[in-house]
């Protein structure tokens, strides 16, 4: 994805468009997975908590 597309997707996610939100989560899944590790194992509950937190707060990002 080039930078122009990225901006459009991010704009959509910030505006609350579900498809764009999913795309952003998909793009940043490695980071989310990294933070979802607990004691060397992936904590599914933590990952879900983080994704909900991102979905609820992404509108606060100023483009």
């Amino acid at each position: 994805m080039d930078e122009r597309e990225f901006r459009e997707v991010l704009k959509g996610a910030v505006a609350g468009i579900h498809e764009d939100m999913e795309e952003v989560l998909r793009m940043y899944m490695p980071m989310i997975n990294k933070y979802s590790m607990r004691n060397g194992q992936l904590d599914e509950d933590l990952r879900q908590y983080i994704m909900i937190h991102v979905a609820l707060n992404i509108s606060k990002f100023g483009i």
Partner: protein
């Protein structure tokens, strides 16, 4: 011109990545904090009688339940400002805003007047506002 636009887009991606990294990190800390605050339960059958009859066991349980030894702050600056306050003022703010006790209850527990609680509260909030240096309207 094109090069300028590209660098602006690059800047956006970098800025968003950094912002998201902080957001996710804080979400994890919040989750771990909430998880830690969950009260562990043990079936009564698994608790030995010697443990129940042990003096101080009940106190230890109560201490574990109240668990106000460490407070999680959303804002780092607020945490720093809070630590500058005197222990007495910290205690009053914790009782007011974390334990959500009424000033009259706090006065009874601390053996002081209700007016003293109000005074300490307003002085502590004033100090916090000064330390944060931005009005602190949300502190109430």
């Amino acid at each position: 011109m094109n090069h300028q636009q590209d660098s602006a887009h690059d800047e956006l991606r970098a800025r968003f990545t950094k912002w998201l990294d902080t957001l996710v990190y804080r979400a994890k800390l919040n989750y771990l904090y909430k998880d830690r605050k969950k009260v562990e339960t043990v079936p009564i059958d698994e608790v030995g009688e010697d443990c129940l009859s042990c003096p101080g066991f009940e106190d230890e349980c109560i201490r574990g339940l109240s668990g106000t030894d460490e407070i999680w702050f959303e804002e780092e600056e607020l945490e720093k400002a809070f630590k500058v306050l005197s222990p007495a003022r910290q205690q009053i703010l914790l009782m007011l805003f974390v334990e959500e006790k009424k000033p009259c209850e706090i006065a009874r527990e601390l053996n002081c007047s209700v007016q003293h609680v109000y005074n300490q509260r307003s002085l502590a909030l004033k100090k916090l506002r000064q330390a944060l240096g931005k009005g602190g309207e949300s502190l109430g």
